[in-house]
Every structure is written in structure tokens, then in C-alpha cells.
């Protein structure tokens, strides 16, 4: 069970453009992605929409497989700009990792 946290979308805004709610979950980005299976990048975009922060951090490794070829953004029918969202997520994960790191020291 995931509790929906709508505020998360606003938290992400400090890391990049706010286009993620434009996505209507068609999956074109998943179909076009040449590198990664398992519903990338739609899965992460959906987790942003419902604010499932923990899921995003848990699945953060996928982000670093992305080559930023830009095919997803070019084919997105809703101009949700998945490639840019992935960049924002990278910034978020890095920031969170630093926080975790500091805590552990």
C-alpha cells in the first residue's frame, strides 16, 4: 500500500521543470526507450505523480542507465518531457544520498 503524497510534485520542482502531471500514462516512452526495460521511465514518472518518494529512491539505480538520448521526450504526446524529468530525479536522488550519507557519519 502506498499513501498518495501530492506535495511531492512541488518538492521536485526545486530540481527541475514541473511537467510531470501532464503525463497521461500512455507508455510511449517505455516502448521507445532503447536501453532499459521494466516500464522505464514511466514507472518513475508515475511514482512522482502519486508522490511515492520511497519507491523512487529505491529504484534510483535505473536512473544511471539512462543515456539521455531524448527519444522519450521527442515522442511524448503530452509534452511531459520524460528525459528532463529523469534529470530532475537524478538531482533529487543525489541530494537525498548526500543527506543519508551525512546522517550515517
Amino acid at each position: 500500500m502506498t499513501l498518495v503524497t501530492p506535495d511531492f510534485v512541488e518538492e521536485l520542482q526545486q530540481y527541475g521543470d514541473d511537467t510531470v502531471l501532464r503525463c497521461f500514462n500512455c507508455g510511449t516512452c517505455v516502448a521507445i526507450c532503447p536501453l532499459i526495460n521494466d516500464s522505464f521511465p514511466r514507472r518513475l514518472i508515475r511514482y512522482i505523480q502519486i508522490g511515492a518518494r520511497d519507491r523512487i529512491l529505491a529504484g534510483g539505480r535505473d536512473l544511471w542507465q539512462c543515456l539521455h538520448c531524448g527519444l522519450c521526450s521527442r515522442t511524448c504526446p503530452r509534452q511531459a518531457d520524460p528525459a528532463e524529468v529523469i534529470l530532475s530525479l537524478k538531482r533529487l536522488v543525489l541530494a537525498a544520498w548526500r543527506e543519508e550519507d551525512t546522517k550515517n557519519v
Binding site: L3, F24, R78
Partner: protein, 620 residues
């Protein structure tokens, strides 16, 4: 009885169509022509690639003009397709259109049989048609006077629009409305999808123009209680709606008062009727998505009304003094119900149809909430988004842009609305909505909300009394049914009764006005000339043979189509042609064979049967 009744024509023209291969690929059309030509009474037998084409019709017209033939048989497709085409050709040749008989050798032959059997059956059907055609008589259409007056039942947007268009076409109109107000359901809306006009403006403008028009009489608080007559000449009885109905004047009704009695009836003489009786908003069962169990669960119409009085607290919605931080809106409530999944109503019925307007109405409401109150979150839970009309898909896009979050559920596992558990994390909301979300890969997600809005659909209005009185057909969805969904979309099967708006099916305001305008124009064109011409295929009594048994009157299916009258001291049956359906029930029961159908007489049937059982080679 005319002497010609028993005379057979010897100048039948037979025209056999190839239908561009549709028929000729399976039926040896030239063999049919050669054999049919030998049948007694056939003067001319011709073939053509397309009989319905201009050159094909010219063959018939030319033979008639030259006097070679005086009866016509066309063997082609179904009569529903081209019977009127060929009757028209005969009329253009200056002859009576009822000297025509049609043989269907496409649907009944070439589409279902092949080879010799197809050709043999085609010959039988054409021969039967020739047999009947030889006995056909010229007939005259029945002409009845028609009142240039239409009664519209229902004063919602469709009824108002129909009345407006009828008056513009120069007809007199009576508009009957049960409630004290005009405007129906539209009057209960605030701003309407997709463009956000004020419903009040739409209704007020239209209603005022109806009220100001001298050609339109508006009767509010009125209901139809009697229906008699026939197309062009209906007599309606209308009475004021009264709570005291059924109670004698002066009767004390406990906790109500003393009955004023049943109000007097008014008779309206009219030519046609437009049914604009509207819909009823679906009422959720107790417990359906928590409705009735939690005060925070409301229907979309209820929400729209409350939202019109919304207040703001720093950009967050306040309704009735309560701060609304988060709203869940659930689609398809009372629509698209599935047997075995959804619970049936008290009468064991389900609404299996899509109500068509709710998706756009919900999204419009969601956009308005988000745009006016950015502090309020909106969760939209749908099965499918069906924003099918112009500028409606844009509404879906606009909702996404405004930050509405969507969730997709399956009918097998609908969202659950429960009271929030006290002390649970992130649960300072009165309600919790849990849904297995198709967009989140089938995971269960949960949200805390202050309000749940149910997008309730449309149900057929409760007009059982009118349906029974006027014998109107009703679809399996309980809405009034048209004759044909595409080709006769506003006509009911009762001649002179038309359908307008949501009485017929769920539709938007624009669609309801379209339907209403179409119904009004159909009624106006029906009555415009002040008289009607009806098909002459009705019963006819031979007064010399009639014994006055009254069997036919008892067998008659159309009320008032047959009556007993005194003639020279004897009881005799008489046909009221305008009311007769031409079904033939009377012909079957008459002990003396005194009643017959014009254009479908027993003698004509016998001739057809004779030709079917005859060996064609023998008869030639």
C-alpha cells in the same frame, strides 16, 4: 367493389437487376428473364446491370409511356432499399405508383443461395410477384387534414428548444411542464462543460424567448392525462399537477390538509407531439462508495450546487464552512454497470450504458476547483476517460495541466471509501479512499480526502404512465426508443410522435438541442401543408358481404381503426383509414370474407401462392 378487382392485367413488365454482380454472380439472370417472359400476363421482361440507375428506371418509364405495360415488377434488392425509387419512376411516367410489386432476389436469394437453387428460387419469387401484380389496382393515398399545432411535453432545455424552433417555423405550440419552472436539469447547473458558459444564461435566454412568443402557450404544473386520435389529429387531455389527486374534494388527508379535489381537465387539439421528458439523475445505493454512510460523500449534481457557493481560505476551497484540502472524484457511478459485478436496482435492472456527459462534467469541475483553489488537491478515479466531443479532450489535458492526479480502476475492484483510522500516519482526513491503480502497475494506493464526489450518470425519467398511454417503444436501457438510430433518429414508431433530448438517451446540452431542433423540424414538415398523405394499404369493408358480427372490431389492434355503424338498419363495420395499421388481423377473423386489405388482398395472396406452387414450365 369495382369490376376491375377480378380482372387480371395482361401487360405486366418485369425488370430484373444484376446488382453489378451482387445478384448475377449467383442467379442466372438471363435464364430468369427468358423463363419469366413466358409467364401468362408478362408483356415485357428486361434486365439491367443496375435497375436503380437512371438508365434502368428509364426502361420502366419508357415501357409505361409507350403503353406496353400497365403493371410493374422489379426483381432486385430488399424493398426497404428501392421500393420507393421505383414507385417514384412510375409516378414520373404519369402512372399510379401502386401498380408496383417488388421481388427481393438479393437478400432472399443471391446472398443466401448459390447455383441452380438460387436461379430456381429467383424464378419462383418473380413469378409470385407477377401473379400478384396482375391483380394490383391503382390506389390513392389517404389524405387526412392535419392541425398545424404541436404539443411539447417537458420544459427542459430540449422542450424549450423544440418549442422555439416550431414557433419559428410558423406552428402553434403548447408546452407542458410538470414542475412550476422551465429549464429542467440545466437550470440546476452552474457553469457547463466544456466552455464554461453559465447554465443560467442559456436557460434564461431560451425560456424568455419561449414565454414571450405568442405562438407558444406554456402550461407549467401540468401533466398529460389523456391521449387519443391519430397523426395530424391528436386530442390530449391535460390537468394541473395536484397533491390532492385521487382524493375527493373536501376530504381531510392526515398531515396534509383538506383536498381541493382533482383539478379540471383541459383538452388540447394538436397535430404532433414531441417527447422532451428528460432524464433522472442516478441515485447511489446506500453504501455505494460510502454514499449515505459518510456525509462527506456527495453526488456531482450536489457538489455543483454547493460549489456555486464556495468560499476561499488562502486559496483552499471552503464548502459550508469546512476546509476542503483534498477531493476524490469517482467516474462511472450508476453507468456502465456489468451483470455479476454491479448490484441491480429494486426492479432487478442495471444501467449498462455509458452516460456520456459525466467524464467531461467531472473534468470541468476538477479544472474549476484546481484553477480557483490551488490549495485543494483533486484525485480523479476513472475506469476510462471518454471525452468524446469537440473541445472535450482539451478538458482532460487542461485538468492534467492544472495538477489533477488520475487513477484508473477496474470494475471488478472499485475504489473503497472508508472512514480514516484515528492516529494513522498522514490521516488527518475524515475519509480514506483506497484503489488498486492500473496506472501504478496494479499497486494499491491510498489517499486521505475531505470530500468524495460521485459522477452519477443519467437514467430514464419515470414516464411509465405516458409510455403506456401513448404505446411508445422503450429500449432495454428504459429510454424512449427511436425508429432507427441512424436513419430515423428522432421519430418514434407512433406516427406524429417525436423524441427530443435526454428522454431518448444520455446526451449533452448541445446534443439535446440538436435532437430537439431535429424533432421540431420533422414535426413542422409533417404538418406544414395542413394535410397528410398516408399509404393506402388499409382495410376495406364490402358492405354487401358484411354481416355485422363485430369480430373484426374485437380483433383490431389499433384502437378506433374499426367501428360498428348503422347502415339501413343493419350493423356494419367501418374502417377509419387514418388509424388502420394494415395488419390484416380483421381479415383473418371475418366469417364472410367481407373485409380485405387494399394492396394486400386475399386474392392477391392466393395468386402468389398459386405461382409459387405451379411448375413454371407447365404454366407457360
Amino acid at each position: 367493389m369495382t369490376a376491375s378487382k377480378h380482372q387480371r392485367s395482361d401487360r405486366v413488365g418485369v425488370y430484373i437487376c444484376y446488382c453489378g454482380g451482387n445478384i448475377s454472380d449467383h442467379v442466372d439472370v438471363e435464364k430468369v428473364r427468358a423463363d419469366v417472359e413466358k409467364i401468362p400476363g408478362v408483356a415485357v421482361a428486361r434486365t439491367n446491370m443496375f435497375m436503380c440507375s437512371d438508365p434502368g428506371q428509364e426502361l420502366i418509364i419508357e415501357d409505361l409511356r409507350q403503353g406496353r405495360i400497365d403493371r410493374v415488377v422489379v426483381a432486385s434488392c430488399a424493398p426497404s432499399l428501392h421500393e420507393t425509387t421505383f414507385r417514384g419512376a412510375i409516378t414520373r411516367a404519369g402512372a399510379n405508383p401502386y401498380i408496383y410489386e417488388h421481388a427481393n432476389i438479393r437478400e432472399h436469394v443471391s446472398w443466401v443461395l448459390h447455383g441452380d437453387r438460387a436461379t430456381a428460387k429467383a424464378e419462383k419469387l418473380v413469378a409470385a410477384a407477377v401473379g400478384k401484380a396482375r391483380l394490383l389496382e391503382p390506389l390513392q393515398p389517404i389524405r387526412v387534414e392535419a392541425r398545424r399545432h404541436v404539443t411539447v411535453i417537458g420544459g427542459g432545455i430540449a422542450g424549450l428548444k423544440a418549442a422555439r424552433v416550431l414557433a419559428d417555423r410558423g406552428l402553434e405550440v403548447v408546452l407542458i411542464e410538470k414542475s412550476p419552472f422551465l429549464g429542467g436539469h440545466v437550470a440546476r447547473l452552474d457553469r457547463v462543460a466544456p466552455h464554461g458558459e453559465k447554465a443560467a444564461d442559456l436557460v434564461a435566454e431560451l425560456a424568455r424567448s419561449v414565454l414571450e412568443d405568442e405562438a407558444i402557450t406554456v402550461l407549467t404544473r401540468s401533466q398529460l392525462v389523456g391521449f387519443d386520435g391519430y397523426v395530424g389529429n391528436y386530442d390530449l387531455r391535460v390537468r394541473a399537477v395536484s397533491d390532492g389527486d385521487g382524493e375527493g374534494q373536501g376530504t381531510y388527508v392526515p398531515f396534509r390538509g383538506v383536498s381541493g379535489g382533482t383539478p379540471p381537465e383541459l383538452t388540447i387539439e394538436t397535430g404532433a407531439i414531441i417527447m422532451a421528458t428528460g432524464f433522472r439523475s442516478y441515485r447511489p445505493r446506500r453504501g455505494e462508495y460510502g454514499h449515505g454512510d459518510h456525509a462527506e460523500v456527495v453526488t456531482l449534481p450536489e457538489f455543483i450546487r454547493r460549489f456555486s457557493m464556495a468560499e476561499s481560505a488562502d486559496g483552499t476551497l471552503v464548502l459550508d464552512g469546512r476546509i476542503i484540502r483534498s477531493i476524490a472524484m469517482i467516474h462511472c457511478v450508476g453507468s456502465r454497470q456489468i451483470p455479476g459485478i454491479h448490484e441491480e436496482d429494486a426492479e432487478g435492472r442495471l444501467n449498462e450504458y455509458c452516460s456520456r456527459v459525466c467524464c467531461s462534467a467531472v473534468l470541468h469541475a476538477a479544472c474549476r476547483i484546481r484553477e480557483r483553489f490551488p490549495g485543494t488537491r483533486v484525485h480523479d478515479l476513472y475506469r476510462d476517460i471518454r471525452t468524446y466531443g469537440r473541445d472535450q479532450e482539451e478538458l482532460y489535458q487542461r485538468a492534467s495541466g492544472a495538477g489533477v492526479v488520475f487513477y484508473r480502476f477496474s470494475p471488478e475492484e472499485p475504489p473503497r471509501v472508508t472512514a480514516a483510522q484515528e492516529g494513522a500516519a498522514g490521516q488527518d482526513f475524515p475519509l480514506r479512499v483506497t484503489v488498486r491503480d492500473g496506472l501504478t502497475f496494479g499497486e494499491e494506493v491510498e489517499m486521505g480526502v475531505d470530500l468524495v464526489v460521485l459522477a452519477t450518470g443519467m437514467e430514464a425519467a419515470q414516464v411509465g404512465d405516458l409510455v403506456a398511454m401513448m404505446k411508445l417503444p422503450v429500449g432495454s436501457d428504459r429510454f424512449l426508443q427511436e425508429v432507427h438510430p441512424k436513419l430515423a433518429p428522432v421519430e418514434s414508431s407512433v406516427a406524429g410522435v417525436f423524441l427530443a433530448g435526454t428522454a431518448q438517451a444520455p446526451m449533452t446540452i448541445g446534443e439535446a438541442c440538436n435532437g430537439a431542433a431535429a424533432a421540431a423540424v420533422k414535426a413542422a414538415s409533417l404538418l406544414g401543408r395542413g394535410y397528410l398523405e398516408l399509404d393506402p394499404f388499409v382495410a376495406e369493408v364490402d358492405p354487401d358481404l358484411c354481416q355485422g358480427t363485430g369480430d373484426c372490431v374485437r380483433a383490431c389492434l389499433a384502437e378506433g381503426a374499426l367501428e360498428m355503424v348503422e347502415e339501413n338498419g343493419h350493423a356494419r363495420a367501418r374502417v377509419v383509414a387514418a388509424r388502420c395499421l394494415g395488419c390484416g388481423a380483421c381479415v383473418a377473423v371475418c366469417p364472410t370474407g367481407a373485409i380485405d386489405l387494399k394492396g394486400w388482398s386475399l386474392k392477391q395472396y392466393e395468386a402468389m401462392v398459386d405461382m409459387i406452387v405451379a411448375d413454371l414450365a407447365e404454366s407457360t
